[in-house]
């Protein structure tokens, strides 16, 4: 039993934490809880209907625990994946225990990943979550980094998105140190400088045509 216990991820005591690396990035949005906004009533089908609007917010703290080295790696400008000491499987995004049932949830080791990979899957987004609307149209790409057995999703920066091609080589770019937050949004993909797009195809023409109104719409956004 004692031998088994050594294989567990450690659980720290709160009193042992020294958050000297904590970085107050910006003042936090104050939490307000349930905040009354509006009430209105109206008629339809001969009946009265009422709607109320109530604002509700929350501040999440993502405690990264055993995944912390991944996040710290990004803060330091590195991509850290994991490697299983038993079967050798490398994954990025990391897995802090091996995914192979035969490895008995072996705790994996951190390995630095190269900042390049192969684009395996992609789409050109013409609509997105609110936070990303002004970046449209953008390319969402799944990239196999180095020897990873998993692909990671992120944004591909490419001036003409319709030229995105399956299996194109890409490089990873990381934001300047002062802007890093230790999250996926610290990096993005770009075509490898040695890569040249192939000729226009009917699919590329079609995507270009679909993107045109998106560019126009985004130009109208404030």
């Amino acid at each position: 039993m004692n031998n088994m216990k050594k294989d567990l991820h450690p659980t720290p005591f709160n009193k042992e934490f020294r958050w000297n690396a904590w970085k107050e990035i910006q003042p936090l949005v104050p939490e307000q809880g349930w905040v009354w906004q509006n009430v209105r009533s109206g008629e339809a089908g001969g009946k009265i209907w009422v709607e109320q609007q109530i604002y509700y917010d929350m501040l999440y703290t993502f405690r990264l625990g055993a995944l912390s080295p991944y996040s710290k790696g990004l803060l330091d400008g590195k991509l850290l994946g994991t490697k299983c000491p038993k079967c050798g499987d490398i994954t990025f995004p990391p897995r802090v225990n091996c995914w192979n049932l035969d490895c008995d949830l072996e705790i994996t080791n951190w390995v630095e990943m190269p900042k390049k990979g192969i684009l395996h899957a992609w789409t050109i987004c013409g609509f997105s979550a609110k936070s990303a609307l002004k970046k449209l149209p953008f390319v969402l790409a799944y990239v196999l980094i180095g020897e990873s057995k998993t692909a990671i999703a992120n944004i591909l920066h490419i001036s003409e998105p319709w030229h995105t091609e399956t299996n194109m080589p890409v490089v990873v770019k990381i934001v300047p140190v002062e802007d890093r937050v230790g999250n996926l949004i610290d990096f993005w993909f770009e075509p490898d400088p040695s890569w040249k797009p192939g000729p226009m195809t009917s699919e590329k023409e079609r995507i270009k045509e679909l993107c045109d109104p998106v560019y126009k719409w985004v130009a109208t956004l404030r």
Binding site: A44, W49, I54, Y56, F62, L64, L67, D89, T91, P93, W99, N100, L101, D102, H120, A121, W122, T123, I124, C125, G126, F127, S128, A129, K130, S131, A132, K135, P137, L140, A141, Y142, L144, K149, T150, A151, I152, A153, N154, I155, T166, N183, L184, I185, R206, I207, L210, C211, P213, V214
Partner: protein, 422 residues
């Protein structure tokens, strides 16, 4: 010890699906139960009190501005003292709740189990709603990108296109089929209520880009609604609906990775299906769940459509319906491209798929969706389409065997059921 029982569906109904629906969950659910009282006069909630349990099917507490919203419903329906629990399994919530009810009756732990599904989605803005759905992706890695579920699905669809040489127009054919089938189903469907006319492939192709290859009309829309499926043992099925019951002849549930990027080399899949499967383009959980359900119902996986008369599947996107054809074993002898172009899934084809309209036509209030698919399939198998639909244009005459499919995440949880007319 309770004994194993055969499991039946003896009735089912939905509210209209719309966005917003302007109703609270109590009256949505009460309307469904009262409609059941009308459609299945022998059924009463007293039987649930004395011989049953209730399984609630509800995806998101974020949308319901309420934890354990089903607690409100349960005592509203007068069911205090009756066991209840809620299933959440993403888009496969309905299918998983049906699976839970199936398991309860099968195990002999309950004889009458209404599965009650609902979702409020108009409680927040559309963009907030998309964000809520996107937090079913891995928020540590994916949600921060600003992509929504459609964006992820589109990436998978593009892989599928490349692998199987499928075109945007072929996906659009599926969207048109489902939108137009919904017109025959009538005023319960969101497409009938919102658009109210038949569409063409051009309408789909000309709608705005959401994420290539998907345009607006390739996608289901956010919706609200409720549905109830009445799951029973044989005794109650005979008592309630001697002429309108179907047996759940096969039930399969399976799972895949939360992040689609983790599907090239997952040891579990490699051991089961060989290296590289399912990748991003295929739905491994759908295949696996289908194999399980078919085996129980004595149907071969390969070309299984030849053994089915009708199917209601989870077409959150036109492309995913095509991917589902493949994952159900329908395209082993005929490429998926030809499967569509030869009109096999159309009303006139060999395996009419989503005659009720599917998610694209009927709507997708998540907790109610898989139940809606179940109910539409049940109506087809019990000859109730003339009673339930606005027109019989989308009736599959003399259907004996049906398939229902419910699907979550980017294929992360999938259930398949085979229903058989008795």
């Amino acid at each position: 010890m309770p004994e194993q029982q055969r499991v039946f569906i003896a009735g089912g109904t939905t509210t209209p699906f719309d966005y917003p629906l302007n109703l609270q969950i109590e009256e949505m659910t009460a309307n469904c139960i009262k409609q059941l009282y009308h459609d299945v006069p022998e059924f009463h909630l007293r039987d649930v009190r004395d011989h049953g349990m209730v399984v609630y099917s509800h995806f998101s507490v974020h949308f319901s501005h309420q934890l354990t919203a089903y607690w409100i419903l349960h005592d509203h329906l007068g069911l205090v003292g009756v066991p209840h629990f809620r299933i959440d399994n993403g888009g496969n919530t309905g299918g998983s709740a049906l699976y839970a009810a199936y398991a309860l009756v099968r195990a002999g732990l309950a004889d009458v189990v209404p599965v009650i599904g609902y979702e409020l989605m108009g409680s927040v803005s559309q963009s907030k709603g998309s964000e809520f759905i996107a937090i079913a992706s891995d928020t540590r890695y994916e949600a921060m990108l600003g992509a929504n579920y459609t964006n992820y699905y589109a990436g998978l669809a593009r892989v599928f296109m490349e692998k199987h040489n499928v075109t945007e127009e072929e996906f659009a054919e599926i969207a048109v089929k489902n939108k137009n089938n919904a017109m025959a189903t009538g005023e319960k469907t969101q497409h009938f209520r919102k658009v109210g006319k038949k569409l063409t492939v051009d309408d789909i192709m000309n709608s705005r880009l959401i994420a290539y290859p998907l345009k607006k009309f390739d996608c289901c829309f956010m919706s609200e609604g409720a549905a109830v499926v009445l799951v029973t043992n044989e005794k109650f099925a005979k008592q309630y609906s001697p002429d309108h019951s179907v047996e759940i002849a096969g039930a399969g549930l399976s799972s895949c990775t939360i992040r689609a990027g983790d599907r090239y080399n997952f040891p579990g899949w490699t051991q089961r299906y060989g290296k590289g499967y399912p990748g991003l383009g295929e739905f491994g959980a759908c295949r696996h769940a289908a194999e399980i359900a078919y085996k129980m119902a004595d149907i071969p996986w390969k070309d299984s459509y030849k053994h089915l008369d009708v199917a209601e599947v989870h077409d959150a996107f036109s492309s995913s319906e095509a991917q589902i054809y493949n994952a159900l074993g329908w395209c082993e002898s005929i490429p998926v491209k030809d499967f569509i172009n030869d009109k096999l899934p159309m009303m006139e084809g060999e395996i009419p798929t989503n005659p009720g309209g599917g998610l694209i036509g009927y709507g997708h209030p998540v907790g109610a969706t898989g139940l809606m698919s179940t109910i539409e399939c049940y109506y087809q198998l019990t000859g109730l389409i003339p009673r339930e639909h606005r027109s019989t244009e989308n009736e599959v005459k003399d259907a004996e065997v049906g398939l229902i499919n419910s699907h979550a995440g980017t294929g992360t949880s999938i259930s398949n059921f085979v229903l058989r007319r008795i």
